[in-house]
Symmetry: C2
Subunit: 617 residues, 2 copies
């Protein structure tokens, strides 16, 4: 399975079957000049790297994994059987894992400026023959991506099937998409942000101050003094660690447990650590100082602060992403307060504005920012489904232009739910559509297949979202009640919402929004004026009918109306009814076009347009 | 107005009319032994103090303001006309302000262990004739409250009308209520928590490590070395500052603005501060080190970590609060992530369990933890209404036992809304009730007045909540859809919900919960089976009637039912219908007890009990 690190040797029996096995870091020397954003140039540089899985004949299956702040080239597998821990992202990289090394050739590296062997503060400055120390240039995310492109040249990889990263790693992914649009097929941006907030910068600033004010720092030339700014670096890491964990995780893991004894000590001596959480943080901080370099830490916090791909485009992130050609998967974690989900949605909004293919998934997690490193079934499925699709497309047609086409429609149009089949008839081939509450993507798949339609689905259910992702659809995890503020005016030819109007908090506002972001809207809803509903209420009971199967108290249908009511609303709002249809059953296609629709139809279907008089509620 | 600091002298024209004016700190020497939790004893101690407003003849109008970590005795007014800033809580203390010095005598102090003149690390240790420094005992919130009780003795104040504080100050308030129940009339607990979380402790630990690892700390004997651990203390304060502000506040105040120039400097030298937020934090940190003492900072973070009034009661906070006799007002701020609203609700839950009088207000604010110091109309009104009521009660009957009785009912029972009048008839005098969606408290006030009923109201609207507080009612700001998890089984005789059933996400679960926390439930709702509703739907339209005045798409009524449907649910769930009534109009009291209620009544009223077979959904 994994040729570059044959797990078959020696005590392989002790390695899990889905591990990439024993791996060996490689050092690459790149003898090409690397101009940096700061104005300086590295004449050449070295990168530490690991690879997992086999590069195929046409070099089309390469995936780049970009490291986060403390991540290095050792992302998966084991360096020896004596290792205590595998690589930092071992849960997600391996044969059959989401980043599947039986299909992809994965490249993982230590960036320049790092401290795991790549050119950086700890390596030799050729000009002085001493280690660079604080004289190493302050590199940016753009510099890193430039160096990674040179690495790709060296490896003979013209184009990455995907570039993937979490946190600071995902910033490199964004920059790849903007700076080398033709060299990246898919961008997977996990637990990230389009740039830091003031709060993020403030935490970094305190971390830096802790290191800079450590008397052992010596202006960054601590090695010459035979010391290390251990106290400062430890403080910086402890602080970082708080921002990686959620409040809940800390509460569950440590609570207010006192260490060893239950008695308070009434001192604050260093030796007298009292609470478990203190002990844990000190241990984390101390362990970090053993293998991490203070100059690198300073550099990387500044790299984070500077990251801002919109800065070159008048602070317009969408303008930056207009350069991108790849498809995007954006993943955020609900309890991440370092780079919270709204930050990921800023990226999504800009990508929508730029007209890019994008899916967005918000993983329900208690792990905070660390969620991107932790095993989680939903997260694994989202990432796995997406990349499986990427690999399938490579197998189908490795040179096909991206974005990939959705798969063959699994549903025969005739077997479609009658309301969806009717909608298929109403939609013009080649148009752009938005499907609100798209479910498992049935309509979008059929439209893509038979009508060559492109578009996005909005869906709240994680299972449905993952199904859509596996089908190669653009799907955004969202609550319809939160509205369509992420979409610009006139972004779509048609906005569709089937059988969801009645579950919304404000159906009128929803349609107003549909007609803002789309030229046309198609809406279907259960008709409360149907004779079955009338008969039930006449008999003194709330209706329970095939179209309205719920009981009054547990029904998701909270704003029901009759066909007459709906048309009255259209009239009041000035929406033009382009077409209408009436179905008497969701199970059989049986149209009742004109005969007493308000009495006889169970499902009303309407195609609407903004009228001459525009009404924005 | 303010006799202790006559604002009439000198340039008083430049002081605002609602200022307490020029004030003078006082030093009190208490020659009484103060035993401390750590086992040591202070033979005597000094406290710095300020007072505002006049103490009345029977000493019943005294209010104690407890300081937070960096707050000292100077809470209001100005020390001189040259002062740049007034006291730290000047927005809230003054004539006509929420803590109204024209009615109350306000006492504000610097606690022991502080660094503003009270006995602490910087004052002389009588045993050594040198400053205490790190030898000063580590004091707890309980120690502070014990010292404040001795201060009250000294001032001739047997009982505080109210003890008030925010953050660490509010922890002292909680401890007062538990430790000296007979000496406190009202406890106002603002932006606080019942104890720190692991995350809170972690931040404190990093702050301490920053100070302890500063080489200028010298084991706390820095004064002897002629230095101060400025770098460590500055780091600690910068870190604290991040936790006081919300992410939003920082974004709005600083964004990612670069200082002076737009060019990045590509360095991390100390001099090269680039972002505005860095500059702000450094300034805040530096300014703090000018007036604050590192030993005090260490001590106070530990005081915070140790605070845990439940610890002495098997971790049962309710058991601790069972000792309290006072009434409580708990205030939290929506964007406070240091002590977030759920922490305040933990206090509320324990107080409910202990059967105490409590109101809870959640202020919508963007200011984070700092919200408790910032001007805010809603916050001012909540605090002001509460304390006005306290002052009014003192005027009425200064020796009356607390809690105060609600005011005379402003509504004649005959003028009550007919459904409420009927409910008044159904409720037994002297019972305990919970009113879900209590509005402005009309029903609760009438019941309290005419039926001697005690209880709580739940209400979501801030204006209504403040009206209830002003009426002396126990009101908890809450969303009914979040359920009644804060209440124990059988906490009430009757739980009432008028005209709110149909706006809930799950009416069936709501009633199940009502019958869990109460012995009986009274529910009123609009009858969708009324002939007007039936007639409308027969004609093909959703009904708009006097009882259902909204349109289908903007109606808050999302789960409507008929009287028959409701009774069918009662039957299915095994709820016993004790009594029922039907009203044909909310505007006139006209009862239709038995003739075709499902057809003729607009409002159904039901009194329910759990049946023999219990059903918990």
């Amino acid at each position: 399975m994994n040729k570059s690190s044959p797990a078959g040797r020696g005590g392989a029996h002790s390695l899990p079957a889905d591990s990439v096995g024993i791996v060996k870091p490689q050092r690459l020397t790149l003898r090409r000049a690397l101009p940096l954003d700061c104005g300086r140039t590295l004449d050449g540089f070295e990168l530490m790297m690991e690879t997992y899985g086999t590069l195929n004949a046409d070099h089309s299956n390469a995936v780049l994994v970009c490291p986060a702040l403390s991540g290095d080239h050792h992302a998966a597998g084991w360096h020896s059987l004596e290792d205590h821990k595998p690589g930092w992202w071992d849960s997600y990289i391996g044969p059959g894992k989401p980043i599947d090394t039986s299909r992809f050739h994965v490249v993982s590296l230590n960036n320049i400026g790092g401290c795991s062997g790549s050119t950086g503060p700890q390596t030799l400055n050729p000009a002085t023959r001493e280690s660079w120390g604080p004289d190493f240039p302050l590199v940016t995310v753009r510099d890193w991506v430039r160096s990674q492109a040179l690495l790709a040249d060296e490896l003979g990889i013209t184009r990455w099937a995907a570039v993937i990263g979490g946190s600071l790693g995902a910033m490199q992914v964004q920059q790849w998409a903007v700076d080398y649009p033709e060299r990246i097929g898919h961008a997977v941006v996990i637990a990230s942000a389009p740039r830091l907030t003031a709060q993020n910068i403030a935490f970094n600033e305190i971390a830096r101050q802790a290191i800079l004010s450590d008397p052992d720092f010596h202006g960054g030339r601590y090695h010459a003094h035979g010391v290390k700014p251990v106290r400062g670096l430890k403080l910086a890491r402890m602080l970082g660690h708080i921002t990686y964990l959620s409040d809940d995780t800390m509460r569950n893991r440590f609570g207010r447990m006192l260490r060893e004894t239950n008695a308070r000590r009434y001192t604050f001596n260093y030796e007298d650590v009292e609470f478990e959480v203190e002990s844990y943080l000190r241990h984390q901080g101390q362990a970090f100082t053993d293998h991490f370099d203070a100059n690198t830490y300073l550099l990387m916090t500044k790299t984070l602060d500077y990251f801002d791909p919109a800065a070159d485009y008048d602070d317009n992130l969408a303008a930056a992403f207009e350069h991108a050609q790849c498809s995007f998967l954006i993943i955020a974690f609900s309890s991440d307060w370092r780079f919270a989900p709204p930050r990921s949605r800023e990226i999504v909004r800009a990508l929508l504005r730029a007209g890019r293919n994008v899916s967005y998934v918000e993983i329900e997690s208690t792990h905070g920012h660390d969620g991107f490193l932790m095993p989680d079934p939903n997260y694994e499925q989202a990432l796995g489904n997406y990349l499986r699709r990427v690999a399938d497309d490579l197998d189908d047609n490795p040179t096909a232009p991206l974005p990939a086409r959705p798969a063959t429609c699994p549903h025969d149009a005739a077997a479609l739910r009658p309301d969806l089949a009717l909608i298929c008839d109403w939609i013009k081939p080649g148009s752009r559509i938005l499907d609100l509450g798209c479910g498992d993507g049935q309509l979008l798949r059929c439209l893509a297949h038979s009508h060559n339609v492109t578009g996005y689905g909005l869906e709240i259910d994680p299972g449905n979202v993952n199904t859509c992702i596996g089908a190669g659809l653009n799907v955004l995890q969202a609550d319809l009640n939160d509205g369509l503020a992420d979409f610009d005016d006139d972004s779509f030819d048609t906005v569709v919402m089937t059988q969801a109007l009645q579950v919304l908090a404000r159906p009128d506002r929803a349609i107003t929004e549909m007609l803002r972001v789309g030229r046309q809207a198609i809406v279907t809803f259960p008709n409360f004026g149907h004779w079955r509903a009338r008969a039930a209420l006449s008999a003194g009971h709330m209706p329970v009918t095939p179209a309205l199967p719920h009981r009054w108290y547990d029904s998701p249908n909270i704003h029901l109306c009759t066909v007459h009511d709906f048309e009255a609303l259209c009239h009041d709002k000035g929406w033009r009814i382009v077409r209408r249809a009436a179905l008497n059953d969701l199970r059989h296609k049986e149209l009742l076009i004109s005969a007493f629709p308000n009495l006889l139809c169970e499902i009303g279907l309407y195609q609407l347009e903004r009228g001459r008089r525009t009404s924005h509620d």
